[in-house]
């Protein structure tokens, strides 16, 4: 076991279902310790299947993986107690209360101290804002309350790694914000987070690393900054005279110049932004705003996974 190795590492991890479909195709995932890893991909691209493989719920057809330094499935007993997970939405006993459901999961964990169970459960409920509804039967919970309970379940004890499959699904804006804040705080305290999500704004706000799945393959994996840098940044000038500004940009030799109604943009290329500003001022173009804009994550995502809307069966 290498304590400083990646929190999650897979080697050629593959899952072929009995239907013959290869849902996860030889992926080499590397989630660095302390990172917040955004796990992206269109519907049906294999994110949940990967998470099931990581947790040992399904057996890989090929490949291997380690979690927190332990090989699975043999190391499940030592690794998984340190991992909090949310897989494909919440699932609890409908006729038990939220609190009773957490007691049930806590009772199943042989590595925690039963004497602290009540305190830990209440703390977890409090952190997701569910304390007031803790005595209600799960059956009577709303979608967002169920999701919150599933998140509470990952917080029953300190974790070194959280594996979260769409944790903010169904949450109200406050809930989404709170969960984002919670994850940020946990990450700041050193917890590694693998976050599968469709909300790219969420990724831009809290993720340090990104992996993109497409048709069962990991088509990109990098730090967020490096992934962004793959698509060239653009210069954006806000002005009342976009045509004049576009002329300056063209004169400087910038490529792909576009003049809008209030803006002129171009690929930044090798020209230093300072020179562009100086040139604009020299030509007396009235500048209201000037920015070097990194590529939109959404565009990067679409360029990696294609424009098509239909899921790939």
């Amino acid at each position: 076991m290498t304590p400083d190795g990646p929190a999650i590492e897979t080697e050629g991890l593959t899952k072929r279902f009995r239907s013959g479909q290869v849902a996860v195709n030889a992926i080499d995932l590397a989630v660095p310790r302390g990172s917040v890893y955004g796990f992206l991909g269109p519907n049906g691209s294999g994110k949940t299947t990967t998470i099931r493989l990581l947790l040992g719920l399904i057996r890989p057809t090929a490949g291997r993986h380690t979690i927190l330094g332990a090989r699975l499935p043999e190391g499940a007993g030592t690794a998984l107690p340190r991992v909090g997970s949310l897989v494909e939405g919440p699932a609890f006993h409908p006729y038990l209360s939220g609190r009773a459901n957490l007691h049930r999961l806590d009772a199943a964990d042989r590595t925690v101290d039963p004497r602290t169970a009540t305190a830990r459960i209440d703390a977890a409920l409090d952190r997701v804002g569910l304390l007031a509804a803790a005595g209600k039967r799960y059956r009577a919970y709303s979608l967002g309350m169920r999701q919150r309970l599933a998140i509470a379940q990952t917080l029953l004890r300190p974790r070194e790694l959280l594996i979260l499959d769409e944790p903010t699904n169904g949450l109200d804006p406050q809930g989404t914000r709170e969960v984002r804040g919670l994850l940020g705080a946990l990450a700041a305290a050193g917890t590694t987070v693998l976050l599968s999500t469709h909300l790219l704004s969420e990724v831009e706000q809290i993720c340090t690393h990104v992996g993109v799945m497409h048709l069962g393959r990991l088509v990109a994996q990098d730090s967020l900054a490096a992934l962004r840098a793959r698509t060239a940044p653009r210069i954006e000038v806000q002005t009342r005279q976009p045509a004049a500004a576009a002329g300056v940009l063209t004169a400087l030799g910038l490529a792909d110049v576009v003049a809008g109604t209030q803006t002129a943009t171009a690929l930044a290329g090798d020209v230093e932004p300072e020179k562009v500003v100086a040139a604009l001022v020299a030509e007396a173009v009235p500048v209201r705003g000037f920015a070097v804009v990194a590529a939109d994550l959404e565009e990067t995502f679409v360029s990696l996974t294609g424009e098509g809307f239909d899921v790939s069966g």
Partner: protein, 293 residues
């Protein structure tokens, strides 16, 4: 939610390893399993049905005292000793009600958790799959004993109230003191528990095959009934002694003086064999199964 103020208390301090040594012996998960079964309203309703049979039986006998030799042995003896209400009720419930009760719990064991999706969260805790099966089977056995004991206790109480106690006339014709009679009744309960636990083991295997708990329950009850039907066809006598239900009614031998051990021993041996074989089958099926519900 209070991210800021609760964080210092529960946030993970890097480098401080959580206590990870698993407790060697812990009954917490097992107790949680029992509580899941005995806390469920559906199971209380089932218990009510089980308990109502001895009550109806006792009242019916009280209202119209049967002629000697009328109906099954135990019923005609009720007026002599109230404990026979318990025994007669067990005979009446053994073919269908008790298998149904055990089938409902055993069918739920794995399929119920898979159907709800709670199975994946239990396994991710992690609960070792072998441990999960053993805990589930232990709980099924406790439930089987509770169901049998419920019928016996309710039957004994109402029997003693309506017909009185006193010495117990054995099937051999001798008389046993009342305390010995109670002891024999407990042995009957334990024997039935062993028989029903074997059915529970079969049921748990069925439960690993599907994600539909109701389907598993129906399959288990059908199996118990088919076994009894086959057992009643004389032309099939060659296979009778291998049928899971074949020795169920042998518990009458526990009421002889002295206890006749032959059939009882065979019954326990068969129940043990079914239990071991089907627990192994359930394990073989479940230990490597994909949990994708």
């Amino acid at each position: 939610m209070s991210v800021a103020d609760s964080l210092p208390a529960t946030g993970l301090p890097i480098g401080v390893p959580a206590a990870l040594a698993p407790r060697r012996f812990g009954t917490r998960f097992f107790r949680s399993e029992l509580w899941l079964i005995f806390g469920r309203r559906r199971n209380w309703a089932g218990g009510l049905v089980l308990a109502s049979v001895p009550i109806i039986l006792a009242i019916a006998v009280k209202v119209s005292e049967p002629q000697p030799g009328d109906g099954p042995d135990f019923i005609s003896q009720i007026t002599g000793n109230g404990l026979f209400v318990a025994l007669a009720a067990l005979v009446l419930e053994l073919p269908l009600f008790l298998p149904l009760a055990v089938g409902a719990i055993a069918g739920d064991a794995v399929a119920g958790e898979a159907n709800l999706g709670t199975l994946r969260y239990l396994l991710a805790v992690p609960v070792h799959r072998t441990r999960l099966l053993l805990v589930k089977f232990g709980a099924i056995t406790v439930f089987a004993f509770t169901a049998v004991a419920l019928v016996a206790v309710v039957g004994s109480v109402i029997g003693l109230v309506l017909f009185g106690g006193g010495p117990l006339t054995t099937l051999s014709g001798s008389q046993l003191p009342f305390a010995e009679g109670l002891w024999r009744l407990l042995l009957v309960c334990l024997y039935m528990t062993a028989c029903l636990a074997a059915l529970g083991a079969i049921g748990m295997f069925v439960s690993t095959l599907t994600e539909q708990p109701i389907g598993a329950t129906i399959a288990i009850v059908m199996l118990a009934i088919v076994s009894q039907i086959l057992d009643s066809i004389p032309q099939l006598s060659a296979i009778h002694e291998y049928l899971p239900t074949h020795y169920w009614l042998a518990f009458g031998d526990l009421l002889r003086d002295p206890i006749a051990t032959g059939q009882i021993g065979n019954g326990l041996g068969l129940a043990w064999t079914y239990t071991v074989v089907f627990l192994a089958a359930a394990w073989a099926r479940f230990a490597s199964r994909d949990v994708s519900s």
